[in-house]
Symmetry: C3
Subunit: 317 residues, 3 copies
């Protein structure tokens, strides 16, 4: 789509060359043929470092746009981006190409294998599983019954994906109109699972908007866990059942999230930190410590003390 | 079944004509050929307005039953109703009728399509999906892999149902015997999704007992959410991951439920209200405000203040 | 595998006859041809009562090992056991044997039926379901679409398993190396569901390590519930949506767990106890009482009083 078309579609205005835009991308990764957007003042400082060919911005951020990057000025860049994301979404099915299934792999009945799929040595794909286009699965994996792996996702070696888990669903991302409608942001990223990763039954891992949601080597995720778009889990994390990680949560290595714990989006947890069951990570947490509490979260020992104080104090009242 | 048979089956007694009962229904919607029940004094005031042909009641509520409605008196009307619900349940499979699949629709392999199903223009039904009898799906929808849509459910236009979600499962409703058994209430209602609705991966939406569980236009539901029987979500609601709405929760328009939030049954939340992550809606909430807290829930600002006071107070102790 | 091979594989040392070990098993159930392990001092008292042929122990527990049981001394018996569990895991597919499907059973399309499966009278197996090897299902059951029942699991009569639930997945059990890797414990137990059991949509029930995870007659489990390995639910329990029971939770009969409640592992709840929504069972609870609270849990009335006191006290501050 040309910038002029994009401007018309989104109600944006621009000065400059009417270049062709081949894709949408993040501020960080967009190139000269791609369009990005800046949503709010807190990200304005990243504009000058971007290599995007064009950017959707509000008028007040215009001053941050460097020469060589075309500004498309509009009221709501996030909404404009969402509207465009449908046009730039990857098609539901890619061009038909042969898949490469290792002869030693065991593909059970009623499995769907898309186009350009790779399945490695000795991997078992159990009945009812769905492997979307361009999915790559390493060796010695077991993809259990009725698992769904969406287009473009990558699974390392020696992984176990338990029954009915879903890898690579679209994230829960919408822009909002003034009249209260929500415009879907189509997600073009993927999910990348390392080696020796285990994903529990009925667990869901959403794909990134542009980039990858990552679960690094040796991480183990229990049943019914939600991992939002663009999360990154370091090596050897343990995520206990019914935990929910909101989008862009970053866990270091060997982080433990107890059962039914959760995180707000865009927070990070340091290496070897442990969050107790039901803990709610609402801010960045230093590594190497134990934490507990829904709100506010604090160090485990402190939380125990606080609860004991509360009990003691009100017993007398 | 005739009233005499029903009376015998449930241990109820009645005076009057032995009419044939064709269905069970709610106090509100039952007609002259249908049987309803009244469970407890708080609903007694609705009896006189009902058009039911007959009603299961306890002896003490007999006075509320108008002339022209036959009273079946028993100790536990809810239990009697549950016992009968099996007899009046719709059969698992309806009479074989042709389905109407638009020629432009794309039905992938291993899809099950029941009897009398309608699939609209350009809709894609991905591999492994299940469409029960009488299911109607509008145009431009994507029903993702391994989605299950039970009998009689209706999906509007432009909807996305993500992998492994379940639409129209029986609600969690039982009547209890004196000896601690639970008698299943068969659910004859359905689920109705409006237009532009998105349902997340592994999310479950139960059908109504008699009527519909409703998700109105533009509402978006994240992964691993539970929506109980007879819930009604207004237009443009956003339900974040792992939220659980108990039966008969009523949300106005553009209500936001944060991650891992919940509601008790039979509560309502007003238009544009926002419930923070982990919020527990235990009572009706006015619209246009932000709320937080597990128990008791209160306005967000108030909750923040309370938590700060608690922290400050006990720091000194 | 002979003890000498086991010793070499795990870095353990032993004195005595180099017997053949045919299986791994628990302290309680291991026989003379089986190997068990003792993990920590608190279980040391059970060693002398075990009939195991051999045991993995740390040096300091050597004194508890009776004569006639060979001790394999190592630094981390739990890790040694996890390493061996892969070798002793049942194969993914058992030897091909005929299944026994009652002629009155209805097997819908795209169902996978493994080896040596039994399906009883009038049972319906809906489309996309997966029945692993040796699965036994009683009569008058409905196994809904896309349900996965893993190898060796047993389902009684009159059960309803709702869409996309998963019965018998491996539990979330790992041993940990010094360098932060997690070694999977392969689970050879199963899940046993009694009669008149109902399991909700997208609910997951993990198999026991050696023994069975049990859900007794008349128990009803709602949608999106997690039941960990080796849990035991007594008769007539009601487990409301999104509850999570950690491994080895023992519920008596007619226990009610409210929505989004949870339990820590290795706790028990007495007969007829009721845990309110969001309650967190962190210790053993007596039967016949109502409980509430995330941490600490207490009797419901007490919790209400405490919350009221807190509100009142801080209103004045």
């Amino acid at each position: 789509m040309k910038l002029s078309e994009i401007a018309q579609k989104t109600g944006a205005s621009f000065d400059g060359e009417d270049i062709e835009i081949f894709a949408l991308n993040s501020l960080k990764n967009a190139n000269k043929a791609e369009l990005t957007y800046c949503d709010g003042e807190k990200n304005a400082k990243f504009i000058s470092g971007s290599n995007a060919g064009a950017i959707l911005v509000t008028k007040n951020l215009l001053e941050f746009v460097p020469s060589g990057m075309t500004a498309l000025v509009c009221d709501n860049p996030h909404l404009a981006f969402a509207i465009l994301s449908k046009d730039y979404a990857k098609p539901l099915f890619c061009e038909k190409k042969d898949s490469s299934i290792d002869p030693s792999a065991n593909i059970m009945p009623n499995v769907y294998i898309g186009s350009n799929v790779v399945v490695g040595e000795n991997t078992v794909i159990m009945a009812g599983a769905f492997l979307g286009d361009n999915v790559k699965i390493g060796k010695n994996c077991i993809i259990h019954p009725n698992v769904v792996i969406y287009n473009d996702c990558i699974v390392g070696d020696e992984c176990h994906l338990l029954a009915n888990c879903v890898i690579g669903s679209d994230g829960f991302g919408y822009a909002h109109t003034k009249t209260g409608e929500h415009v879907k942001i189509y997600h073009n990223g993927n999910v990348v699972l390392g080696n020796y990763v285990e994903i529990g039954a009925c667990t869901t891992i959403d794909r990134g908007v542009f980039e990858s949601t990552i679960v690094a080597d040796f991480s183990k995720v229990d049943n019914l866990v939600q991992i939002g778009h663009n999360c990154e889990l370091g090596m050897g994390c343990l995520i206990v059942s019914q935990t929910g990680l909101a989008g862009s949560t970053i866990l270091g290595r060997n982080v433990v999230m107890g059962g039914q714990s959760g995180s707000a989006g865009h927070v990070s947890v340091g290496d070897f930190a442990q969050v107790a069951a039901r803990g709610g990570v609402s801010k960045n947490l230093e590594g190497g410590k134990k934490y507990a509490g829904a709100y506010p979260i604090m160090e485990l020992a402190e939380q125990f003390k606080l609860q004991a104080k509360i009990s003691r104090f009100f017993k007398k009242k």
